[in-house]
């Protein structure tokens, strides 16, 4: 059974986000890391890049395949987690502790398009 945390918002494509002060930390869910298997490579844009909700902002790759990362919110990437970039297997060992990018939200109303923990639990169970 994969873990779903109460305080996060989720996309159907298995990204999580934690919003504080207009900035979203974004990562992949426990379900996502378990489905992928060991993550061997992570690629994301750079600070300053604009991303759109539910559009690709990078990719996460297991030995077997590459999967797109979709931004749960629109906005500007303001920080990339270099530690996770250099050690992508952290996404497996601690998916909710390993944010990938911080995005400065351009439209808080978009958060209504995301799932809460209960809603996300329904699609992964």
């Amino acid at each position: 059974m994969s873990k779903v945390l109460e305080n996060l918002l989720y996309s159907k494509s298995h990204e999580w986000c934690l919003v504080e002060g207009g900035v979203a930390k974004v990562g992949i869910t426990d379900y996502a890391q378990d489905s992928l298997g060991t993550v061997v490579y992570l690629e994301v844009g750079e600070p300053g890049d604009e991303v759109k909700q539910f559009e690709e902002f990078g990719a996460v790759e297991s030995v077997k395949a590459a999967s797109d990362l979709l931004a749960p919110v629109s906005g500007e990437i303001i920080e990339v987690n270099e530690e996770v970039l250099d050690n992508p297997e952290l996404l497996n060992s601690d998916p909710y502790g390993s944010w990938i990018v911080k995005i400065k939200l351009s439209d808080e109303k978009e958060l209504d398009n995301l799932l809460d923990a209960n809603g996300y639990r329904e699609i992964v169970e």
Binding site: G37, T38, V40, Y41, E43, E56, A59, E61, S62, V63, K64, A65, A66
Partner: protein
């Protein structure tokens, strides 16, 4: 959807199952990287019961298999196996396969699961005046592959047969754990190992026995592909296929142009003119993984595409096979691979990703 006799074992032992060639097969047990390492360092056990088996028997069987296959299959080759291709008239690959010589008038073709029905129809359609019988025996056999440097030691515990007398591409029939099997010293990993054929019930019993051996890891199709790739072995539909002939793929060792076979005229012409495209090995010079289908670029234009690519366990740089225009196939040629938004530099290199340790 078909299941092998081992389906329940795979599920009970925690494999992630996936559809492959019409069968539900284990993709991964514990992790592709762990299973890959187990085969390189110890021993891995694979269910390969989905493979197709086609038997060709009769007075003209030797002439017929030599008419069908690119490799020379000797009439007195009993107990040996050979790698070859079925080609179409243009030299395109219908399938690649192993042929086991049971006797001068009796051969077993072990073919790709996804191609089995096509192959069977193809072989029958070329029978002509050859006095042979062709039968699909795929449902009679199940098959295991035990691969890796400790496989000989593991198998030796369960049989009295002198395994050291069985060399690469040799096979025999003998008892393991009290049941009769056909065993070849062969595989698809680049390691020493065995491919074991038996009745469905006997293979189920043997799988359970081998799975208990401490050196043995259960393996899925995920690492089967990374292992064969690292060993520079082709996979049908990737490095060979209707549009990629054996010479373009660099597999001329399995083609004997001194005999006539279906497609031999076309191959002679291709050999004389040189293939227009070639399969090359690439090593990426920067971060990124070249995946199947990605474009290969040189001088600002697309000159080919990736056929298989991985960042293999334990390696720093990604490796790939690509089909490129022949003028870009020299070792040392600098190209680039389009990975999402980026052009990642890569260089054509030799195919020796792995030092093989076969028992010859």
């Amino acid at each position: 959807m078909k299941k092998t006799i081992l389906y329940d074992e795979h599920c009970r032992r925690g494999a992630r199952m996936v559809e492959f060639a019409g069968y539900l097969m284990p993709l991964v047990y514990t992790g592709i990287a762990e299973e890959h390492a187990a085969v390189r360092e110890s021993s891995g056990l694979f269910d390969v019961s989905h493979m197709g088996e086609i038997r060709i028997r009769g007075k003209d069987a030797n002439r017929f298999v030599n008419h069908l296959l690119t490799c020379l299959v000797p009439e007195d080759g009993k107990g040996r196996m050979f790698y070859g291709f079925l080609l179409d008239d243009d030299g395109g690959v219908v399938d690649d396969l192993m042929v086991y010589v049971f006797d001068g008038d009796d051969y077993l073709l072990v073919v790709n699961a996804a191609n089995k029905d096509k192959d069977f129809a193809w072989i029958n359609s070329h029978k002509g005046a050859f006095e042979v019988s062709v039968s699909d025996e795929s449902d009679l056999f199940s098959q295991l592959a035990l691969q890796g440097p400790l496989s000989r030691e593991v198998l030796g515990r369960l049989t009295d047969y002198p395994l050291d007398e069985l060399k690469l591409f040799g096979f025999d029939h003998f008892r393991i754990a009290g049941k009769e099997f056909m065993v070849s010293r062969s595989g698809y990993t680049g390691e020493d190992g065995f491919e074991i054929y038996g009745s469905n019930a006997d293979i189920l019993a043997l799988f359970r026995e081998l799975a208990e051996e401490p050196e043995v890891s259960l393996c899925g199709l995920g690492c089967r592909d990374t292992l064969r790739f690292e060993a520079a072995m082709p996979l049908y539909g990737h490095e060979i296929g209707p549009e990629i002939n054996p010479l373009a793929a660099g597999l001329g060792f399995a083609v004997n142009l001194e005999k006539d076979f279906i497609g031999s005229e076309a191959l002679k012409k291709i050999k004389a003119e040189g293939p227009k495209e070639r399969i090359v090995a690439l090593e990426l010079k920067d971060r990124g993984i070249a995946r199947e289908g990605y474009e290969v670029v040189a001088d600002g234009e697309t000159i080919g595409r990736i056929t298989t690519g991985y960042l293999l366990p334990g390696r720093e740089t990604a490796l790939a096979f690509a089909l490129v225009r022949a003028e870009f196939s020299e070792i040392g040629t600098e190209v680039a691979v389009r990975i999402r938004r980026n052009l990642v530099p890569a260089v054509v290199r030799n195919r020796k990703f792995l030092k093989k340790k076969y028992i010859r």
